[in-house]
């Protein structure tokens, strides 16, 4: 029965520890490139209290995990599902790898594969959505590897570093995910 053990090939997903993980998040957010990949809010240096309160407030409506490496159990990022629409079976996934040395090596894709299995086989979702900035080609590649398809782009919706950028919308349907499981 227990096929989902929150473990992939490279990482496992663990629940958040409000104290230690908040410290990590604050550490990561000093990296403004990390901040600018995350969302459209201006990069900002939050206090421990602000971050902890934010996490506490959002634990109920979100489903948040920390990403740990299997090799040495290091916490390298987070992944979460939020914005659940239970009638349509839709939710949004967000992911961030705070430890830069793990970028571009399949750790994020592995975490995404675990949370997609959770979303479709346990939460009974019909689709999972995400948005990514056009200046994040590494993210886009990773999401495509996990099975997401581009559904369109909000043109020039972000203004950063003196330039306008698109927000790319991606989605994966359960039927598409299931077809990919049969192949692999």
């Amino acid at each position: 029965m227990n096929t989902l053990n929150f473990k992939g090939q490279l990482v496992r997903l663990a629940v958040t520890d409000l104290e230690t993980d908040t410290r990590l998040m604050i550490q990561w957010s000093k990296d403004s490139e990390f901040d600018r990949l995350l969302d459209t809010e201006p990069a900002y240096l939050r206090t421990h209290k602000q971050d902890k309160e934010w996490l506490q407030d959002h634990l109920k409506e979100m489903c948040t995990f920390m990403i740990h490496t299997l090799a040495d159990d290091r916490t390298i990022g987070f992944i979460d599902l939020s914005g659940f629409n239970w009638a349509a079976g839709d939710a949004s996934v967000g992911i961030g790898l705070g430890e830069r040395v793990y970028w571009g090596q399949g750790y994020g894709t592995d975490a995404m594969r675990i949370i997609l299995r959770y979303a479709f086989e346990e939460l009974n979702l019909r689709r999972v959505s995400l948005t990514v900035f056009e200046y994040n080609p590494r993210g886009i590649r990773s999401y495509e590897k996990a099975g997401f398809k581009i559904e369109g782009r909000a043109r020039q919706a972000v203004n950063r570093a003196g330039q306008r950028w698109d927000i790319i919308f991606m989605g994966i349907l359960r039927s598409e995910w299931e077809a990919a499981q049969v192949v692999s």
């Binding site: 009638a87 349509a88 689709r127 959505s129 559904e151 909000a154 043109r155 020039q156 349907l173």
Partner: protein, 194 residues
């Protein structure tokens, strides 16, 4: 647009401040129409709202308007008899990016047919010529053909097709994201003046 042109006054419609004592009750009655309640709550299941929930929502919008200054909630009234027919809602403005998310919520379908285009025009004028945004986004479910043509008529471009992201009347529907850029809005105005 001239500096002395009226932003809140159209030919048939007037944009007015919310009346927190009366407007929520009027709107609660509209939410039995699930097309309407899906519009005002695009990310969740459509359901009629209680007066308590609606008032709470109004308070949140008011808070967003006063404290964060990134939300706007105004009413559309008929000029001839001051009747409330709907709302213009800017759910957020990202000031750093000049990006806004707009809803035009008209209570009764026939009012939408009659006055939707003018409501849209007034809202866009306010957004582009006063709030000075660069882009306005709107979402429309696949089944809402009237809203779709309202967006397209105002020059919005279909940007994203979120497949099967909406469930109504026993089936899944796509949800569209429309976007209108400042340059497109201004070109549209220039075309009309020719």
């Amino acid at each position: 647009m001239k500096i002395n042109s009226q932003l809140f006054e159209g030919r048939y419609l007037q944009i007015s401040a919310i009346d927190p004592d009366q407007d929520p009750q009027v709107e609660v009655n509209w939410t039995y129409d699930l097309d309407y309640s899906q519009e005002i709550m695009p990310d969740g299941p459509a359901h009629p709202l209680t007066l308590f929930e609606m008032k709470k929502q109004y308070e949140e919008w008011q808070k967003g308007a006063e404290e964060k200054r990134d939300q706007f909630n105004f009413g559309f009234h008929l000029r001839e008899d001051d009747r409330l027919i709907g709302f213009m809602r800017v759910h957020w403005v990202s000031w750093t990016n000049g990006d806004a998310f707009l809803q035009i919520n008209i209570g009764e379908p026939e009012m939408q047919t009659k006055y939707g285009a003018e409501a849209m025009r007034l809202a866009l004028n306010y957004l582009f010529q006063e709030l000075n945004v660069f882009r306005v986004g709107m979402t429309v479910p696949e089944y809402n053909l009237e809203k779709k043509s309202l967006c397209e008529g105002a020059g919005f471009v279909l940007e994203v097709n979120r497949k099967q992201a909406c469930y109504r009347e026993g089936r899944l529907w796509d949800r569209y994201l429309y976007g209108l850029l400042r340059s497109e809005f201004l070109n549209g105005l220039a075309e009309e003046e020719k």
